[in-house]
Structures are given as C-alpha cells and as structure tokens.
C-alpha cells in the first residue's frame, strides 16, 4: 500500500459560490491590501530617508512628520484589507495554507507580535513626532524593520504553501513549528519583489502629498514631487531588474509560462514590464517639467494597470505551482443563494457608505478649519 498523500483533503463543505467569484474577490482584495501595505511600508521608508538623508533639515523633518502621521492610518488599512484575501485564500486553498502555516507555526504567530509592536510604534511617532523628532525616527525605524520581518514571514508561508513536495521532509524533521522556507530559491527574489514595490509606491504616496499641497504650499509641494518622484523612479528601476531575477528563480516550467508557453500569462508579463518602463520614463518627464498632473495622475494610472497584471500573474503562478496536485476550479460548488446576494448588497452599500464617510470628513474638516481660521483672524483683527 502507498502512503496516503500528505496533502490534506479539501474541506467537505462545497464552495458557496462558483470558483471564479472567489478568485476575483481574492485577487481584488489582495490588490487593495498590497497597495495599502506599499503605502504604509514605502511611506515609512520615505519618511526615514527624508529625515536622515535630506540636505535641508527643516524640509526633511516636515516631510518626515507629514508621513509619520499617515502611518497609524495606513497600517490598520493594511490589516483590514488583508483580512479579506486571508479569508478567500482559505476558501480556495485552505488545505495548502493551513499546512504551511502549521509547519512554520511560531514564526507565523510572531507576525502578530511584530504587528502589535510596530503599530504602537507608529502611533507613538505620530503623536509625539512633533515634540521628539529624533526618538520618533528611531521608533519608526524599529517599526519598519518589524514590518519587513512580517513581509518575510508572509513570503515564507506563501512559497511553502505552494511547494507541498517539501512538506514531509520539513515536518517530520521539526513538528514543533519552527520551519521557514529558506531553501526555496525563489523565496528571497519574491520577497524583495514585494518590498521594492513598496518603496516605489512609497514614492508615489509622496507625489500624492505633493498634489494635495500643490495650491496651498507650492514650494513645499515641488520639493515633495522631486523627492517622491525620484524615489518612485529608482525603486521601479530596481524592480525591473529584481523582477527578472524573480522570474529566473522560478522552476523552468513555471518561468516559461510567462515567456510564451501561456499566451495570457505572457501578455500580462509584457504589459507589466512595459508599463513599469513607461512609468519610469513618464515620471522622469514629469519631474523635468514639474508637471504634477503627469506625476500624480498619469503615472499612477499606468501603475494601477501594472499592479492588476502582477496580482493576476501571482494568482496564475500559484495555480501553476499547485497544478500537479490540485485545481481549485474542480472544487464542488453549491451556491448559497440565500446569503450570497446579501453579501453583494452589503458590500455595495458598504463601499458607497465608506466613500460618503470619506467625502463627508474631508468636506466638514475643511469647512470647520476655515471657520476656525476666520474666527481666529476676526479675533486677531
């Protein structure tokens, strides 16, 4: 008798909606999560660079504080937006995800500890950054290191979940959950690919800050544009090289999917590469002309397309890794028609309501600010 396969059987409860619904939700919510994460992590790095590498100390500190104040909002956004893909990945790939998590249980739980400490660090820097900029810088550095560590754990878990052929060796050598996936040649290139992307989007975040300040404080905004735009360009250049390294590190069968074997994958890959290069060129042009519209609208539009392509490729790559063992499209389906529409309704209403909350806040915060400013000037006058 053969040993039964180590890969756990999928859950006996059928999918409560067709596979493609979950695939779309997984990729969509993952994109939202990764964008928030990139802004948070990249914004944090840009804050530190501004603080410690800036020639003009005053401006550097100002950028630092402006960015530091955003971090306690961007981190919960990252977590909250991360919960949805975490849910959907368990729906489609639970038997792979739970197993890889068990193999690296302690490092995986460490994510929570890092998250808590990093989070409080961001709050500290945001509340006290004005009074104690020196210490706030060190605290943000600490938090950023922890966030890098969290990303590393996530890369370990995802790569491990996609390579069931090595599970047995790892588990039976250490069932106490202290494994990582350091021997996977694609681990570090993959990890770096995500981290460098964060730096690029951190640059874009600064460009958006330039846009927000363009009319109010143009001199400051121009400096933000140059700083953020350069950050974006350098990181994206590095990313193009890094992306090629990542591609090379993949097993050849999977690599070739993006190099002609699969037309859709190849097309997405081409759009991704060409889009990235175009965004660098366009940003260089925007910086030269000091064209905020080009930097804050056109470049992000291209990058949005690139991110959608990359996230879709990531999903295709996972399915290709798992193809010898499992196809999520084969899972039994029994759509819960009494609940699924409720979700769609709540989701649509929630999304609209969320935008109302944002718009209302911006409008009233601005009105109220003007009101107070005019009262103050009346009082002064």
């Amino acid at each position: 008798m053969m040993q039964p396969s180590l890969i756990p059987a999928p859950d006996p409860n059928p999918l409560p909606a067709p596979y493609w619904v979950f695939a779309v939700l997984l990729v969509t919510t993952f994109i939202l999560h990764i964008v928030a994460m990139n802004f948070m992590l990249g914004g944090g790095v840009m804050a530190l660079v501004a603080k410690w590498r800036s020639k003009d100390r005053e401006i550097g500190n100002r950028v630092f504080i402006d960015l530091a104040k955003k971090l306690p909002v961007l981190l919960p956004a990252t977590i909250t937006l991360g919960i949805a893909p975490l849910l959907f990945v368990q729906v489609l790939y639970g038997q792979f995800f739970y197993t890889s998590s068990v193999l690296m249980a302690w490092p995986w739980l460490l994510v929570l500890v890092c998250l808590t400490v990093a989070y409080y660090g961001f709050y500290y820097a945001s509340f006290k950054g004005g009074q104690r900029p020196g210490r706030a810088g060190a605290v943000i550095l600490g938090s950023i290191v922890l966030v890098f560590l969290i990303g590393f754990m996530l890369s370990n878990n995802i790569t491990l979940s996609q390579t069931p052929q090595i599970w047995g060796r790892k588990y039976f050598a250490d069932p106490a959950g202290w494994n990582l996936n350091l021997t996977d040649p694609s681990l570090f290139p993959r990890y770096l690919h995500f981290m460098v992307a964060a730096l690029a989007l951190g640059g874009l975040l600064v460009v958006f800050m330039a846009l927000a300040n363009w009319k109010r404080d143009n001199a400051y905004a121009r400096q933000l544009l140059q700083f953020g735009g350069k950050g974006f360009m350098y990181a994206t250049m590095a990313q193009v090289v890094e992306g090629v390294l990542f591609l090379v590190s993949l097993p050849s069968g999977l690599r070739l999917l993006f190099l002609g074997n699969d037309p859709v994958a190849t097309m997405l890959f081409l759009i991704g590469i060409l889009g990235s290069i175009a965004s660098i060129v366009l940003m260089a042009e925007a910086l030269r002309k000091e064209d905020i519209r080009m930097a804050a609208y056109h470049v992000p539009a291209i990058i949005a397309v690139v991110i959608v392509c990359m996230a879709t490729m990531r999903d295709m790559l996972r399915n290709a890794y798992l193809a010898p063992y499992f196809r999520p499209g084969d899972l039994a389906v029994r759509t819960q028609w009494t609940v699924f529409p409720v979700f769609l309704g709540v989701f649509a209403a929630g999304a609209i309501f969320w935008f109302v909350m944002i718009v209302r806040y911006r409008k009233h915060a601005a009105d109220h600010g003007q009101l107070r400013a005019s009262k103050a000037s009346e009082a002064a006058g």
Binding site: A9, P76, F88, Y123, Y171
Partner: protein
C-alpha cells in the same frame, strides 16, 4: 518481519515517532495548544466587547457632555477616545486576526469548516468591520476638526457597524455550541439563527455595555480633578450596574437554550466546566461589588482600584469563555465535528475522517501526517504516542495543560485499566469526550504509551477503602449521589453486589471492561451501601 509499507520518509525519521492530527499535521505545543487558543481568545473577547459597548458610550457621553456644557468631561472624553482606539483598533484588531491564526494552526479542520460554511457571513462581517475601523479613526481624528453634529455622526456610524459585526459573529460562535437543524439541512440561516443565537446576543450586548463603563474607570482614575472623576465614575456606574443586573436573566435564558445533554457536562463531574461556571459567578459578583464600592468615594478612586475591577471582569469573561468551550466538548461544532477534528457522521468528501471510518480502518491507516503505520509487539508505546497525538492532543498534553500523566497517576491505573477506560471515553464526565477513534489494537497501543508516561511506582499503595476504589475506578463516569445509576441499580446485598461487579459490561453493555479484584469489589460494595445511608440522611436534611 519488516513491513512492506515502510516508506523512504519513515526511514529518514524512523527513530522518532512523529505524529499528525488526521487530515492536517499536528503542531507540537509543549505547554498545550488549547491553552494558547484560550489566552488569545480571552484577551480578544475582552477587548472586542469593549469595542462594541465603548462605541455607544463615546457618542452618548459626548452628547451628554455637550448638552450640559461640561468642558472638563469633554476633554476627558477626548483622551478616553484615544485610549479606546489604542486598545480596540490596535490590540483588538491584532488579537482578532490572532484568533484566526491560532485556530488555523491548532484546529485547521474546524477552521476550514467554519470558513467554508460561513464565508459569506465572514465577508459580510468584514464590510462592517471595515466601516467600523474607518469610523473609529475619523471619530478620534475628528475631535478637533469636525463640528459636534458631524463628529457624533461618526460616533453613531462606529457603534452601528461595531454592533453589526457582533450580530454577525455571534451567529457563527453560537453555531459551534448549538448547531441547530444545520446538521440535517446544511442551510446557512438555520445554523446562523441557532437555538442560542438570541440569548447569546443579548448576553454579549450586556457584557459589552458593562465593559464600556468598566474601561472608563481606568481613564477616569488618572484624572486629577476630583469632581470630574466623581462625575465619570457615577456615569460609568450607570453603564455597569444595569448591564450587570440583567446579565443573570440573559444568562439564564442562554443556559435554557443549551440542550440539557450539552450543559450536563458543565454541571456534572467534569471539573473544568463546573469550576469555571463557579468562577464566573464569583468574578461577576466581585466586579459588581467593586463597581458599587467605587460609588462610595467616586472622586478618589485610584488607578490600582480600576485595574483590579477590570481584572475581576477579565476573570469573569475568561471563565465564561472556558465554560462555553468546555460545555461544547466533545464537539468543536455540535453534532458535526469532534474536538479532535474527526467528523461525527460520514459525509461526502470527508476524506474518510469520520468516526466510524476511523474506527474500522484504524487511525494509523487513516491519518495523513504520520510515519508509523504498523503496529506490532515491539512498537506499542511508539505507535501509542502517535495515536495520542492524533486523537488526544487537540485537548490534552502528556504532562502539561490537561496533562494525562497527572490524571492517571491520581487514579493509579495500570495498563489494563487504561485500556478498559479508553473503551468508554464517550461516557466519561457525562460525555465530554469523543469515543476512542481507532481499532481495539490501537487502543491497546495508546494504553501502553499512557502507562509508560504514568507507570505505577513499585510499592504504591493499594486502595485502602471502598471510597478510594470508587474515586479511582468509577468516578470518571459516576457521581456520589442517589440518582446516579451506580447507587440506583446495584443490588442491595453486599455479596450479590460484589458478584455483579465481576463483569461490568453485563451490568450495562456500554461499561468499560474494567477488572476489579475480590478485595476491591468487596470494599466498593460496602462503601456503596454506607453511602446510600449517608445520601438518604443528607437528602432529609435538604443537602446534596
């Protein structure tokens, strides 16, 4: 003869018997996996209920402060909002994700089931959660930036969304305890609006509003202005006292809706359930008394006092969660999945991990993550350890949290006793454990392993009286009370009784095949009759 089934992998790790939990690999947590879940979960629920009740507290207190033009109260509330966000949005959110992480590591099958059955529930809850977190941040950052009306609007949005997330999660949590008709029809809403849904919702709402007041004592106690402090403490009491006053009512309703068989394990001889039910009451009483005491000198309560009150409340909340978890045993999902990840009944796609399939095929042949597949005279304890990890480790450890070494040593069981007792696991403690999942030969191997961790020391004392015999051999299933079948059904004549005890399974077919020697049987028979007398007189005095 060497088995043809030996695999290359077992050659790699042949020296160590490493195990599995059925479909998924088991994660070895030396101090007890169950304890880890309990810690993360209790911290989370203690914060998440505050996140719900505290939301209403913020906005209502703001309205009150503005109406009475109480600037000091408003200033405090601003600080309290920051405290609220730092506790709920950071620690509350991270521990919430933490529960997911932890149960996914320790009970992946159950987690996967809950995700697959309720993914749309979780997804709906996520929408509310997203709005909740956004509103919390706007409420905090909006204190100085928004006019009162708009600021309060965010407060109301926050509370509405937070309460809705309780409304959704409550359906899934209560489903685990009382799965209702879902097991038969697999309909989402049937499981969601299960028998304990509404009492649990009301009970948890009361807990949430009480916690809103209790947490407020913390930030109140650090205020320097005694008059302000007194106002906050009195205002907090208005949240704590009525909420706690209605808790017994909702608690009673909740208990009523839990099927008697489920609740029995918390009332019966099972120590954990009974002890924690008692502890819950004690902690609630202490919290209530301290909250009232704070009203005696409301302007002078120190931080230490507030911390003690909150710790008492944490004790109550933690004990309540322990009761809920322990009465849920032997299931993770009532009538659907046992605590050790084995399905109660066969179902399509269950991968052969249902109880009857495992009992027929044997666990060493069914489990995936295992490298001991054979059972012979030489590997009894090694194979037994594998079986222990698969069948028992979701709740027990060998020698730490719920350690079996301690249980067995206390009762001085020999290997035969253990093997017999394992045959009646599902009867122990009013049915708090699943039946043994494996073949008879595997039961023998498990007994060999358990005996190897808790061997009877040479020269250990034999039971000196019938009471000790009862405690060691009978008290797992029987209680010292007149209504227990042991006292009701055994013959009155000591000699007839002793003879009847020779074959327990002929007394009652489900009894384990435990062998008592002549001396033990005689002592037990004498003691049973003595107790019958004692029980009668105790009953006459109104005791027991």
């Amino acid at each position: 003869m060497r088995s043809a089934r030996a695999s290359p992998r077992s050659a790699i790790t042949a020296s160590r018997g490493r195990g599995i939990r059925m479909n998924y690999p088991v994660w070895d947590v030396a101090f007890g996996a169950g304890l880890l879940i309990a810690i993360v979960a209790i911290v989370h629920v203690f914060i998440s209920h505050f996140a719900v009740g505290g939301g209403l507290f913020l906005v209502v207190t703001e309205i009150k402060a503005r109406r009475s033009q109480d600037a000091a109260l408003l200033d405090w509330l601003k600080q309290h909002t920051r405290f609220f966000v730092l506790v709920t949005v950071v620690l509350g959110v991270v521990t919430g994700v933490g529960i997911w992480f932890t149960i996914g590591l320790i009970a992946p099958t159950a987690t996967s089931d809950l995700i697959h059955i309720y993914v749309w529930g979780w997804a709906i809850e996520w929408v509310f959660f997203f709005i909740e977190i956004t509103a919390a941040l706007f409420y905090m950052y909006g204190w100085d930036k928004l006019e009162a009306r708009v600021h309060q609007w965010y407060g109301w949005v926050y509370f509405g969304a937070a309460y809705m997330s309780l409304v959704v999660i409550n359906g899934i949590i209560t489903f685990m305890l009382t799965s209702g008709s879902w097991v038969k029809n697999h309909r989402f809403w049937m499981g969601f609006f299960n028998p304990t849904y509404f009492p649990s919702l009301l009970l948890r709402s009361a807990i949430a509003f009480a916690l809103a007041g209790l947490y407020a004592l913390i930030t109140a106690s650090v205020q320097k202005d005694a008059a302000l402090k007194a106002r906050i403490v009195r205002w907090s009491a208005l949240w704590i006292v009525p909420s706690m006053a209605v808790m017994p009512l909702f608690g009673w309703w909740y208990i009523r809706r839990v099927p008697a068989a489920v609740w029995a394990s918390a009332r019966g001889p099972m120590p954990t359930g009974t002890e924690f039910a008692g502890l819950t009451v004690v902690f609630l009483a202490v919290t209530f008394a301290l909250a009232l005491l704070s009203l005696a000198r409301p302007g002078r309560i120190p931080l230490a006092f507030s911390v003690v009150v909150l710790l008492a409340a944490l004790g109550a909340m933690g004990s309540f969660e322990f009761v809920r978890e322990s009465i849920r045993d032997p299931y993770v999902i009532e009538n659907y999945l046992y605590a050790n990840s084995i399905y109660v009944n066969p179902a399509p796609g269950d991968g052969g991990f249902d109880m009857s399939a495992v009992q027929n095929a044997g666990i060493l042949q069914t489990a995936r993550w295992i490298d001991v597949r054979t059972l012979n005279q030489d590997n009894q304890a090694v194979a037994g350890r594998e079986i222990f990890r698969v069948d028992c480790e979701s709740c027990h450890t060998a020698n730490a949290y719920r350690g079996l070494k301690h249980y067995i040593e206390l009762r001085q069981w020999d290997e035969n006793d253990i093997q017999a007792m394992l045959g009646g696991l599902d009867l122990m403690h009013n049915g708090v454990m699943p039946p043994f999942a494996g073949t008879d030969a595997e039961r023998g191997a498990l007994a060999a392993y358990l005996y190897s961790i808790a061997p009877i020391a040479p020269g250990a004392s034999l039971p000196a009286d019938g009471k000790t015999v009862f405690e060691r051999k009978c008290s797992m299933c029987h209680e010292d009370k007149p209504s227990d079948p042991l006292f009701e059904n055994l013959p009155k004549d000591p000699q007839t009784m002793a003879a009847a005890l020779q074959s327990l399974s002929s007394l009652f077919p489900l009894m384990p095949d435990l062998q008592l020697n002549d001396r033990e049987r005689t002592m037990l028979a004498q003691w049973v009759n003595t107790q019958r007398g004692a029980q009668t007189s105790a009953a006459l005095e109104g005791g027991n």
